[in-house]
Subunit: 353 residues, 2 copies
DNA sequence: CGATTCCATGGAACCGATTCCATGGATGAG
DNA sequence: CTCATCCATGGAATCGGTTCCATGGAATCG
């Protein structure tokens, strides 16, 4: 029944206090604070002094309640612990900051229910716009965004049937390069650790792999494809499954960096030497991939650019525009993990024992 | 002059619309929505139906303007791209979510001005509380938090002279273990890549190193210490400087994971074999450190626990409590990068050529 | 059966800013 | 010198919720 009055009550300084201290009306104080030109130098000075003296911080709630602008952007990523999304969050945050916006970061943890929960919150917070790397098929709250006309752009991923501006990567080019490169080294059985087919990037990268395999006349054995979930553990399982085949692949391509990390861990555990026993290429260029021995070959795309473009796109939508989607390129970077030519017979199945 | 009316105007559904549609007063509608028990089953039902039909999302601004609670916590980290802080953000976010709070994430980029800018914003957003890994000496906006009585806790780092609850790591124990372990391997000249002495963790870890060196009777040569800035590039410079000494160290301890990353990169570039030519131990246990060949020895501390405890502490402060600060343990994990015994004479200075 | 209590409800004030509108004083033109 | 113009200003309405207060009807009790 008793109130928690343990803490010193926050002495809430309002614009009324400022106005009183400055000897002007609240209207004038507000005009000074929001940079309205219809103010005299005298009152500007007096208000500024009062603000400093009282340490006044305008209440953003009250402000945006009336003005319907919050100068806040919601960013919903799939997994902050994934270095790619951490870098993306950083890039978006820096770009937004440059335009005077603050980021409200949500983390979906690769789960649709958590995404929808955050979207609800972002809507309630009346963010000016939302940048989202979407989960699921767009049946849930995402559709609600469209209906309400909340400025939204997709980043990295898209959702079929939902027409919103997006910034994505053309993974096809990089994957084609990677497969050709591996074929050049003499590999004919290239294993693929795929992402979930419910996610656009998972589908697109898998299709690119399939087409490249066919174009180069390599083995289409369906057992060479393992379907993971874009998280590290599934990369480990993928390697385990592929090495358990009667005819294991001699090279492996992993569709994102966490799965590549899991793959590396499992290859180490099984004593398979990367580069010599097994070629490995990862999608996503994570800084430390270059520090592995041998350094990992990667398919690289610019996350800084992706973040910057996403913010630009969103600001255009907020301004009432309908910008075109942007597709960024991807590029193979060859390092030691895939540059040892393959001599037939060097890889043995785990089954042999 | 013309308005940007390109987008369909958001049809703002308010609680008044809901009340009208449900045939009750706004007061009743509000009570139903906020779970006030003083409502009849009948009106609860009618309001719920109206909310669903109109797709109503309460305006969080208006709500918190009156109730002065936002169910929002500000989290200010030093650098999201640092895996440690990404993991921390994730841990904090999950813990907060479990208590019905949402995280507003700010990124100081290891810079005090950017930190202060975010703090201003967080104050204006009237977050219920702030968790901050602080920059600087507390001369700026941080002091303002105290004055205004905004619930705040420190995480990972503290600021001298500012008395707030905190969750930190006792780095002393792990560092002592590391130095003893290296001494056991026969190392007498242990290099140290230190963090900035303006940051509490930088100071504490450096002091622990100094004390451990003295306790074990190892070389106190001041040239063995390189002062970095907790970012990767300074780890590289540190290694370069240490190897340039007339008598280079035979082992190196790096005070955080980005600097350790930079150190690894530079050792590779210089062709120094980690583990055999140079022992290496890093503070912070990052997942992929175990994937390096040789795997990196680390001083580990639990970031999940740190995040969870920080949220717990903050919720106590918000509830008017004055909880005790929490200090978490650190522990050495020995891996291959430091387990080869040192034979005198195996390390040569870069100067030799 | 009358008085008291209880409780769901409607209506209004309120949170702290922005913004519209009317006003009064200074300035400039005729 | 008078009238129109301009502009900084004060005051009030407003944004969309929450919460206090008064009320009326049902339930409870002696």
């Amino acid at each position: 029944m008793d109130e928690h009055e343990g803490v010193a009550r926050m002495t809430t300084v309002t614009i009324r206090d400022v106005a009183a201290a400055a000897g002007v009306s609240v209207g004038t104080a507000s005009r000074v604070l929001s940079g309205n030109p219809a103010t005299s130098a005298a009152s500007r000075e007096r208000v500024a002094a009062a603000v400093a003296r009282l340490d006044f911080h305008p209440n953003a709630q009250a402000r945006s309640l009336r003005s319907t602008r919050t100068r806040t952007i919601g960013l919903l990523v799939s997994d902050v612990r994934n270095q790619f999304f951490a870098d993306l969050a950083h890039a978006v945050e820096q770009a937004a900051l440059a335009h005077g916006y603050v980021i409200l970061l949500g983390n979906a943890n690769e789960r649709e229910d958590q995404q929808d929960r955050y979207l609800d919150t972002l809507i309630s917070q009346r963010v000016d716009g939302i940048i989202v790397a979407p989960q699921g098929d767009g049946s849930g709250v995402i559709r609600s965004l469209l209906r309400r006309g909340i400025p939204t752009v997709f980043v990295d991923r898209t959702v079929d049937g939902i027409d919103l501006p997006s910034v994505t990567t053309d993974s096809g080019h990089g994957i084609r390069q990677a497969v050709e490169h591996l074929a050049d080294q003499g590999h004919t059985r290239i294993g693929y650790i795929a992402g979930p087919q419910a996610i656009s990037t998972g589908r697109e990268r898998f299709n690119a792999y399939t087409r490249a395999i066919e174009a180069n006349g390599l083995s289409r054995d369906p057992a060479l494809v393992y379907f993971g979930d874009f998280q590290a553990a599934s990369g480990s399982s993928g390697v385990h499954a592929l090495l358990n085949l009667e005819q294991p692949p001699t090279a492996i391509l992993a569709a994102d960096s966490p799965m590549a990390t899991g793959a590396v861990a499992m290859l180490h555990r099984l004593g398979v030497r990367i580069g010599t026993d097994m070629a490995l290429v990862a999608f996503d260029d994570i800084e430390w991939f270059a520090l592995l021995q041998p350094a990992l070959s990667v398919i690289s795309h610019s996350v800084e650019k992706m973040g910057r473009e996403a913010v630009d796109l969103l600001l255009q939508v907020i301004d009432g525009g309908a910008p075109e989607s942007i597709v960024l390129p991807s590029e193979l970077i060859v390092r030691a993990s895939s540059s040892t030519p393959h001599r037939p017979g060097s890889v043995s199945s785990l089954r042999k024992n």
